[in-house]
């Protein structure tokens, strides 16, 4: 009886081991190495590029894509957790620019070879080059570059006295919206977009949120949030929230784009995706052709009269995982991904602007995106968000103190935020 029971137990154990074996000991798959590319969600453009580059490699490699979460902060979290565990399955990563210094300082990025750096930065817009670098070195490869424009409804702006062919200031935009009893759709939600907005305002006034990043000593970080530019930025935020509509403190880019498309907002500051979105709505028959015809796009508003604005810079750069088993091949694949043709195609199909300046004069691009020259100009002027390995802390602190923008006190909010950031970095306060 006892022997039978043992035999049964042994048989069950053996069966379990046999079942587990194929998963763990399958050996290397036949064929070329598969490079894993962790991408941010898009309309399928990155997957298409992966297919094209796999085919173009002539069997040297193939690229498989894995989709990261939607929000950039969550993309960072997932990548960091995997990289902290030395995950070798990460070959290529689509990274949101503000997190690049953190990845670089943590040594999560394989160094960019000199020749690759030279080739992939030729003809690249200023902001993308700056955003892909850390400590003066290129640590990622610019792929596509994003920027915010000032979108306006031509029919509503008429009669306000604003000449949208020339740069306008935030004060003028607020006054125009107020005169027509309309609203401005800016991102007042407690999210990353709030930091994006504040940074553009501060930089546009000639200031900086971080004046000395002090990467080796977080307690030595110097902040510029008590500068006149920062105070002016806070004043603008407060003024805009007064004409921001009822959902201003909870609206993100998507809700603002909807409000603008519906004609509820006279202005919005938003990324170029709004153009693709409204044209898709026309194709779907949910809005008439007159809606996109009424869309106008201008350079981001100035913080101060006469000083060129510093529009937000976004987009995606490609990093190669430091623990990848195929670093050389990953850089080959990266060069293929960021080729001019792929950037052009990605712009045309997914609406995400190229980092390479020559794409903006391509006839197909200009036909589909009449505002392409404005985007190109905006990208040349755009400024990255504060570059620091502790960007997450800086951004979260800003979101905590500047939200809701209607309730901020412009002279004190900046110094209070600076004190919070310093305390958080010194690990003396929670966030």
């Amino acid at each position: 009886m006892r022997r039978t029971r043992w035999r049964r137990t042994l048989a069950a154990g053996a069966a379990a081991v046999a079942l587990a074996l194929p998963a763990g000991c399958g050996g290397a798959p036949a064929g070329p190495p598969v490079l894993n590319w962790y991408i941010n969600p898009d309309d399928g453009g990155q997957a298409e590029i992966a297919q094209r580059c796999s085919a173009a490699s002539n069997g040297e490699y193939s690229i498989a894509v894995s989709v990261l979460p939607r929000r950039s902060a969550e993309q960072r979290q997932q990548l960091i957790r995997r990289l902290a565990a030395n995950d070798s399955s990460i070959d290529i990563m689509s990274i949101d620019p503000p997190y690049i210094p953190e990845f670089a300082e943590a040594k999560f990025l394989a160094p960019v070879p000199e020749d690759v750096a030279r080739r992939t930065t030729a003809g690249i817009v200023n902001s993308a080059k700056e955003g892909a670098s850390w400590n003066g070195r290129l640590v990622t490869v610019p792929f596509w570059a994003n920027t915010q424009l000032l979108w306006y409804r031509k029919s509503q702006v008429t009669g306000t006295g604003l000449d949208m062919s020339k740069p306008v200031t935030w004060d003028q935009v607020v006054a125009a919206a107020r005169s027509k009893n309309s609203i401005i759709a800016a991102q007042g939600i407690r999210a990353e977009s709030l930091t994006v907005w504040l940074n553009a305002l501060v930089e546009g006034g000639g200031g900086q949120i971080i004046t000395d990043a002090s990467p080796q000593d977080p307690e030595g970080v110097q902040l510029g949030l008590d500068s006149p530019a920062a105070t002016k930025a806070a004043e603008i935020m407060k003024a805009v929230s007064a004409v921001g509509g009822p959902g201003f403190s909870t609206n993100s880019e998507d809700e603002n784009s909807n409000a603008f498309q519906a004609g509820e907002a006279m202005f919005q500051v938003n990324w170029p995706f709004v153009w693709g979105k409204v044209n898709s709505a026309v194709e779907a028959g949910t809005v008439p052709q007159s809606t996109p015809d009424d869309f106008g796009a201008a350079l981001y508003p100035q913080t101060e009269t006469g000083r060129p604005s510093s529009p937000p810079y976004g987009g995606i750069n490609l990093g190669v995982g430091a623990f990848s088993n195929h670093v050389d091949l990953a850089y080959k694949a990266t060069e293929c991904i960021v080729s001019t043709e792929n950037q052009r195609q990605y712009f045309l199909t997914n609406g995400n602007p190229a980092a390479r300046i020559s794409v903006f004069t391509d006839p197909d691009v200009v036909e589909k995106f009449p505002m392409a020259p404005v985007i190109a100009q905006s990208l040349q002027q755009a400024k990255p968000r504060p570059q620091t390995p502790y960007y997450s802390e800086v951004s979260e602190s800003i979101q905590r103190t500047y939200h809701p923008t209607a309730g901020i006190d412009p002279p004190t909010v900046g110094p209070a935020t600076a004190a919070l950031i310093k305390a958080v970095l010194a690990k003396e306060e929670l966030l």
Binding site: A84, S249, P404, L431
Partner: protein
Amino acid sequence: MTTTESTTARPAAGAAPAPRGGSDRARAEQKLGWYLAGPAFAVMLLVTAYPIVQAFYYSLFDYRLTDPENISFVGLKNYAVILTDSIWWTSFGVTVFITVVTVAVELVLGFLLALVMMNALKAIRPVLRAAILIPYAVITVVSAFSWQYAFSLDSGFVNSWFDWLPGVSADTDWFGSTGSSLFVICLAEIWKTTPFVSLLLLAGLAQVPDVLQEAARVDGATWWQRMWKVTLPNMKAAIMVALLFRTLDAFRVFDSVFVMTAGANNTETVSFLAYRQTIARVEIGLGSAVSVLLFLSVVIICIGFIKGFKVDLSQVRGEK
């Protein structure tokens, strides 16, 4: 009758006393119990005790995930930072508020639903129970998104349906202030977990002996008197289990806050605070300390309930 029972229960005069630890059969049953429950107990230790111990260990260090070379032992400094920070106490207050409000409402609503299920006609009873339980089957994060969409300004229908109520209009931004945000969060929690409470209370209701109800009725007790003097005292254990489970669950509220407000307008809870330190800031030391404090709060709640209700669950089972 009573005399006979007590006589048979007592050992016969001159009989050998039962061996210490019970009879052979009792010992065998106890052994079998360990065989059956042992593996589950070991697994529980592995999956719960190990992370708790590890969290406590990490909470004594200054440890950032992206800077593993600079880990340093800081003792209880992380706890001092947390307990002297207003954010902790705000989060703690919000958590207690959500817990008290949701559990109180759920207890009353759950009891009413349990009564309805108990007294419903036999033919419709299964359908009714299934209908009441549906919200509990919905995944919390899905429920949170549903409520957020319902109350949001652009996609929500609540404002247009309830604009006849004072204070509600087409422009009401529910997630724009602390009070209204917490109202929606509590509402979502109550909708989601009231069925769970009602199910537990239904089990308690079913355990109240009919003979007691019958005797009270014969003695002329009103419905209200029967409820207070017979039904509720006999359901004490079920009420405690329902309250305890829900309080522990409510105290760890995370999904609704994460989805609806992301902690904006002072709606951050303790779980969310732990998430922010550990996952967003990747400060493993600080985050672990918050998690340990959350764990201790839960333990204190647990002990408080068991002591406060003075219910011995093993006695309810009839073991003692």
